[in-house]
Amino acid sequence: MADRSGFDEFVATRSPALLRTAFLLTADHAQAEDLLQTALAKCWFAWGRIDGPPEPYVRRAIATTYATWWRRKWRGERPTGELPERPTAAGTGSVDDRDALWRALGTLPRRQRAVVVLRYYEDLSEAETATALGVTVGTIKSQAAKALATLRRDDQLSDTLGGGR
């Protein structure tokens, strides 16, 4: 019988942060809930085999589930990002710029979006991102470059965001 002590406590304390990551990946609260539940259920079976802190393992499960199984489950759906806005503490761009960038983010392929979220929200290094997604560092570099290029080419983004158009 695998030792799953600490699983419930981990879920209770870390699920708000994990849910935020899942939301950034899916851009939909209901899908984020489903993604997180699915990833946590997968981790429950592997809990006794996790070596070291469990959070990186769980984040990897969220990212890989999103990039693979998720692709099939939600094929054809495009996140719109139409969520109730909350006031944010600070911001350098306008609300319109943010919305445009958020919508542009939703057009990225899922693996590229996962790379963007892990690199720029989770602040993982390229090597850590590669480990989390189970790919090489070179793949992470190319996926990130393609993602940023796509965003820069987006017609609805202002010049101040892209800078390169």
Partner: protein, 299 residues
């Protein structure tokens, strides 16, 4: 620039996430239960498919579960290990063993097609070393009651003076109780002129008559006629040119090697208007079966 914008955007959007599910732990365990249930069902389905595939595989050509052509239908043995008699066949040389053994096999009648039958506890093959001069394999895989059976047909052996018995090495492919035996067909495959030589009336001699005498005591005596024939022959027996009875050379009627007995009961004798000790002429007319393959004798 865009990297910084992305960082700020993602942080801001992450902050917009509504409160976490307070029942998260319970919901995750419910999801785990569902996954376990599906896995169990999946494993059960896989096992069922494997069992079905295995059953199908064992029935593929090369692993026959049916008897080969040219052998009589079984079963050849009972569940209690007894030897069953088959219409039209005579069993002999039965032998029981559980491992490699030597079987004393006797060629009863040269030129006769024989059938070796086997009973086994588990489905398997058995090899007979130098049976009638060559190695032969018998598939014992036809399920019969609590055991399995198989048979193999042996081509006729043409030998002038068959040995009284031949030692045959038997090598079963699976452990357990084994029993083998030989079925000799009581009907010959064919009769030659030599076989029928000396008989009063034969299929070779064409229309003819046999002089006979009606028994003196019709209460106990009847007119008895022996017909040597191959399987499938049907004859109409005539007394003084009038139909008296018919003889069918079938497995159900054979009484010995190639011999079928027909009787004309007392009632028919009286119907024909025959008297005790009356001299009569018996003749035969072939109704069915291969030509020239019969002979008639009046007892």
């Amino acid at each position: 620039v865009i990297e910084n914008e992305l960082r700020e955007l993602l942080t801001a959007r992450a902050g917009a996430v509504v409160d976490d599910n307070p029942a998260r732990v319970r919901d995750v365990h419910a999801r785990v239960t569902g996954v376990r249930r599906r896995r169990t069902a999946g494993v059960a389905l896989v096992l069922v498919l494997l069992a079905l595939t295995g059953a199908l595989f064992t029935r593929l050509p090369g692993r026959p579960e049916t008897l080969p052509a040219g052998v009589p239908a079984g079963p050849y043995f009972g569940d209690d290990g007894t030897d069953r008699s088959l219409p039209g066949y005579r069993g002999s040389a039965y032998f029981s063993f559980t491992d490699d053994a030597t079987w004393s096999y006797a060629v009863q009648i040269p030129g006769l097609t024989q059938v070796v039958v086997a009973r086994c506890e588990h489905p398997s093959d058995i090899t007979f070393r130098r049976l009638l001069g060559q190695d032969r394999r018998l598939s014992c895989r036809v399920p019969v009651g609590d055991h399995y059976e198989g048979a193999v047909r042996l081509a006729p052996v043409q030998v002038e003076n068959p040995p009284p018995a031949t030692d045959v090495r038997v090598e079963p492919g699976a452990p357990g109780d084994w029993r083998v035996g030989v079925l000799e067909p009581l009907f010959p495959d064919r009769l030659t002129a030599d076989d029928l030589a000396g008989r009063p009336l034969t299929g070779y001699s064409g229309p003819g008559r046999i002089p006979a005498v009606v028994p003196s005591d019709l209460r106990s005596g009847v007119l008895s006629i022996i017909v040597d024939c191959v399987r499938g022959i049907r004859l109409e027996i005539l007394v003084d040119g009038r139909p008296a009875t018919t003889v069918a050379c079938t497995d159900a009627n054979v009484i010995g090697y190639g011999a079928v007995n027909a009787v004309i009961p007392a009632a028919d004798v009286q119907r024909l208007g025959l008297r005790p000790l009356q001299r009569i002429q018996v003749s035969a007319r072939q109704l069915a079966g291969p030509a020239h393959q019969w002979a008639v004798s009046v007892v």
